[in-house]
């Protein structure tokens, strides 16, 4: 029993830090996301990035794009629900939530979301049970990568 507790503690200490980093975080945060979302992970490589696709148990396909320097520069998702955006947007979640509230005042109604700030772009679209999203940090995009091409 004692050894199990020690083992448990070691497991906690061994978690890659920062645990809650995804967009803007390093590649180890992808695994933290997979664990949090209890999904399966598939990795494919392109010329200037690596794409990690997490299929969550709620049926959402989450893709995290990692640059050659090891930073997550974009995330996308498609599925019947949102993934945990606090987990997925990591350090950018607060900025995102504030931007949504700021935009409401001038928006005059509801519709797809488009946050376009110098350091953060978030697009969320779709309808009930069919939600698509994309978030990226323009400064982190590898050379030659266009955000429109990331799906």
């Amino acid at each position: 029993m004692k050894s199990r507790i020690i083992c448990f503690l070691f497991a906690v200490l061994a978690l890659p830090f920062p645990l809650l980093a995804s967009l803007g975080g390093d590649v180890t945060s992808v695994e933290a996301d997979r664990v949090k979302m209890q999904g399966t992970l598939r990795t494919t490589s392109a010329d200037s990035y690596t794409m990690h696709e997490i299929q969550t148990s709620t049926g959402v396909a989450v893709k995290e794009y990692v640059s050659p320097t090891g930073k997550v520069f974009a995330v996308t998702w498609r599925g019947p629900f949102h993934p945990d955006l606090r987990q997925l947007l990591g350090a950018y979640f607060g900025q995102y939530a504030q931007a949504v509230q700021d935009q409401r005042a001038q928006r005059h109604g509801h519709g797809p979301l488009l946050i376009q700030q110098p350091g953060l772009v978030v697009q969320i679209t779709g309808h009930m049970r069919s939600l698509w999203g994309k978030a990226y940090v323009p400064q982190l995009l590898p050379a030659g990568i266009h955000a429109e091409d990331l799906q």
Binding site: V35, T58, Q87, Y96, P112, M128
Partner: protein
């Protein structure tokens, strides 16, 4: 310790945690259906495109509903300023707009059930309660609805607020409520009956100690009210007149049922069935095809499509969610259903800043904005068209729902 073992332990830890956050299966009884009683049923509800109860809304269709404490003819209230939304399912009313006190839905252990519903631009949080709904001559008895922003459940769990920003008051919602009359019979469906990690986390039980995600039976979920009508329950038609430029308001109708009465036949409308995986149709624009990336939604306040680079229309300087072309654009696209039905759609994109410069204009044709890789045919699409939304699994003269027709 080997990494594989560490992973197993981590997986166990996570499983253990999530098991703690579910449980509490089953909920109290609610009875569906009910009979309106009298013979002829009025199925026509007036709707108005106006500035809405908060003021300043552009391109939202509003209506009113009568809600009663179930079984009561005295504890009743008419709530106006309810947004008509074919892009969601379920009736949601702001707590601040309610003067009656509907009964709270409880889980089998007696804990109150509270919902977190994600939208595109935020989420609503509030308890699931039960009302008898009357709209036009239609009745939905013991209808589970969401009461948004109740002070009894003011603490929003982190797993709910992770959806973004709350829309729990009049200022952020822009309406006293949302009448979701979309393609689904409930807002969540079977996913919310699953326990563990497969549960998307829309329903919670909230004892005093705090809220935890729970399973919710399909029957107890917030229901598309149309599904609970005794008749005219297979879908709706939204009918709005043509709008040229900007007008203060326009009036139209929300008609219940498709092919159930003399006033709701399909006529010459073409049925577009949906891709089952996405609930979308396909749109072709300027030679490019956007497969299963297009939908029709009265709850979106513009036609949102593609992006500035692809369309060539600049976004507005102070409103990057809208297009601001220098001159009005008369455009055409082609919609295609999963059934192969294909026809062209004419639509207008105008300068949104100019269109909305007169603050009293709330019905505006030409509002459009970016929506990368997708087409969201919002309320301006409905101007001058009769748009049918058929509910999943319901039979109609045009085949079984879900589909859109126009």
């Amino acid at each position: 310790m080997k990494p594989a073992r560490l992973q197993r332990i981590l997986a166990l830890m996570v499983t253990g945690v999530s098991t703690l956050t579910v449980g509490c299966g089953g909920t109290s009884s609610t009875s569906g259906g009910g009979n309106g009683g009298s013979g002829s049923t009025s199925n026509v509800q007036a709707i108005t495109v106006n500035a809405g109860p908060a003021g300043g809304y552009v391109d939202g269709a509003f209506t009113s509903v009568m809600v009663c404490v179930p079984g009561s003819t005295a504890s009743c209230q008419t709530v106006s300023g309810i947004l008509v939304d074919t892009g969601s399912s379920g009736l949601r009313i702001l707590s601040s707009a309610l003067t009656i006190s509907p009964p709270q839905q409880t889980a089998s252990n007696g804990d109150p059930v509270v919902e977190c519903l994600p939208f595109l631009d935020g989420f609503t949080w509030g308890p699931v309660q039960s009302v008898d709904l009357t709209i036009a001559g239609e009745h939905a008895k013991s209808l589970p609805i969401q009461v948004i922003g109740s002070s009894n459940f003011s603490t929003i769990p982190a797993s709910c607020s992770s959806n973004g920003a709350p829309e729990n008051d009049l200022a952020s919602l822009g309406a006293n409520g949302i009448l979701g009359v979309g393609i689904f019979a409930q807002d969540c469906g079977t996913a919310c009956t699953q326990s563990g990690a497969s549960n998307p986390g829309l329903y919670y039980t909230c004892p005093a100690a705090g809220c935890q995600i729970t399973t919710e039976s399909v029957a107890n979920q917030v229901q598309n009210p149309v599904s609970l009508f005794a008749k005219d329950n297979n879908g709706v038609i939204v009918e709005l007149p043509s709008v040229s430029g900007s007008e203060t308001s326009v009036s139209g109708s929300l008609i219940f049922g498709i092919g159930t009465q003399s006033n709701n036949g399909l006529g010459s409308a073409m049925v577009y069935t949906l891709d089952p995986a996405t609930g979308n149709i396909t749109t072709t624009y300027h030679g490019a095809t956007y497969t299963n990336a297009s939908f029709i939604d009265s709850g979106s306040n513009g036609i949102y499509f593609l992006d500035a680079t692809t369309t060539g229309f600049p976004v507005c300087t102070n409103a990057t969610f809208w297009y601001c072309p220098s001159s009005t654009q008369n455009l055409s696209a082609t919609n295609q259903g999963a059934n192969g039905a294909t026809a062209s759609v004419d639509f207008v994109v105008a300068n949104a800043t100019t269109l909305t410069s007169n603050a009293t204009d709330a019905a505006v044709n030409g509002i459009a904005g970016p929506n990368s890789g997708m087409f969201d045919w919002g309320l301006p699409f409905f101007f001058g068209r009769n748009v049918y939304t058929a509910i999943e699994g319901q039979s109609t003269p045009g085949g079984a729902g879900p589909y859109w027709a126009y």
